[in-house]
Symmetry: C2
Subunit: 252 residues, 2 copies
């Protein structure tokens, strides 16, 4: 039987890999992602200040002792609204410095695997590095299982059937716009719940979709929580939470 | 270094696994999916009549000689419209018989891995088996990298930034509804292009999005084709084709 590592290949010198690490369970990394993490010179990842970082935590079982790592700590995450000039300034400097660090190491011939939760091209911070470095160094993006796939799987809720239209909405939208989006879709995933929980629930209720809505927190992780939105008594605020509204399209 | 197979685990007797095989490149299977394919008693898959089946083709490098397989051949695919009573009757009988075959083997204690292109709970035929068997036998669904993730990755087109709303629309919708959906979204993926190509292109043009639209055929497979929608001269009709319209949300 062929070994999974043999299929997946290894890292090339001087190349930046944007590696999707999937929704949380390490078994949901792709063969390519796992093999690259085990073969790059440096594993890089984002983290909230003073934390280990979720992506880094997910891949822990894959890392060998002595693996070289670089942690990039956000100067700010949700303490300031993303449309505030201070947020823009602080995150802008952080991204510029981070890109310079990556570029220097890559130009010295080292390979770097930059971890991204879910899929790197789907609301990923990796995209801000891709934007700066894609024309400068060799870059390979490794798609991943999205957080939302992990969540609807664990909720045992097939999301889109037949001709269902699926809308993915950030919970950061204002309430009226959220409600409009919900009302005009067959199936919905609401991401980035965090501190937006109460607003999101009101919008789902106003759109008449609360009966079908499922709240999923840390789907596929060991401490996941899944419950009907109507049964949520408190107001959770975890980063890794979503509301899933499955479609009702063609069943045969 | 830990072996990837050791992380991913093996199949349990009498269990049905709905296995997402990702967009096309075998390296984009998850560790869990690959290890299950190598350990189930029977690998099952859907196929168009007389064909090998795309999912089966994707996992070929993982299969050992002598692996037991069952091919389930659709009696009809796109020869009859999906809303025609004959389609419903023929596909309905096929699904019922298929579920009975699976159930019989599972109850004899065999484990079965039923392959699904992309993610099993995202427009997957597997869902029709899940619906019939989830309360009858143990079922585990293994999420996969969706076809659309594979396509936007290969098109080098990050799909959703910041507060972008992403809409996933089947190309089977009528032209007016398609156009409406396109006009009210930041980022769009149009699936199920197939014979709908001309209509889809007209809708994209009418919504003023043709400049940003990318046509991706068989993304991540060896014979993929990627080109700006405006540069498509002919009218392709492949099952594995999509139109990707990347969002333009917050760049920092």
């Amino acid at each position: 039987m062929i070994s999974l590592t043999d299929i997946a290949g290894t890292a090339k010198p001087g190349t930046l890999y944007g590696i999707g690490v999937g929704p949380g369970d390490v078994r949901l990394l792709t063969l390519r992602a796992a093999a690259l993490i085990q073969s790059v010179d440096i594993v890089g990842y984002f983290a909230k200040k003073g934390r280990q970082g979720n992506a880094r935590k997910i891949v822990t079982p894959l890392l060998a002792a002595g693996q070289r790592e670089i942690k990039f700590e956000y100067p700010v995450t949700d303490e300031i609204p993303a449309d505030h000039p201070d947020y823009h300034d602080q995150i802008g400097s952080f991204y510029r410095e981070m890109a310079a660090t990556l570029e220097q190491n890559l130009k010295e011939g080292l390979s770097i695997g930059l971890l991204a939760e879910g899929d790197p091209f789907f609301y990923g911070s990796f995209m801000h590095m891709w934007r700066r470095l894609d024309d400068v160094v060799p870059v390979e993006v490794v798609p991943g299982v999205t957080g939302m796939s992990g969540c609807w799987t664990r909720a045992n809720a097939p999301i889109a059937w037949g001709d269902d239209v699926l809308t993915v909405v950030p919970g950061t939208l204002d309430e009226e716009r959220l409600k409009d989006r919900l009302a005009s879709s067959d199936a919905v995933v609401i991401m980035k719940i965090g501190t937006n929980f109460a607003k999101v629930r009101r919008a789902v209720q106003a759109a008449g979709l609360a009966e079908r809505a499922v709240y999923v927190e840390r789907g596929t992780m060991s401490d996941e929580r899944i419950l009907p939105l109507n049964a949520c008594e408190d107001v959770p605020g975890t980063y890794f939470s979503m509301v899933i509204i499955p479609g009702q399209g063609r069943r045969i």
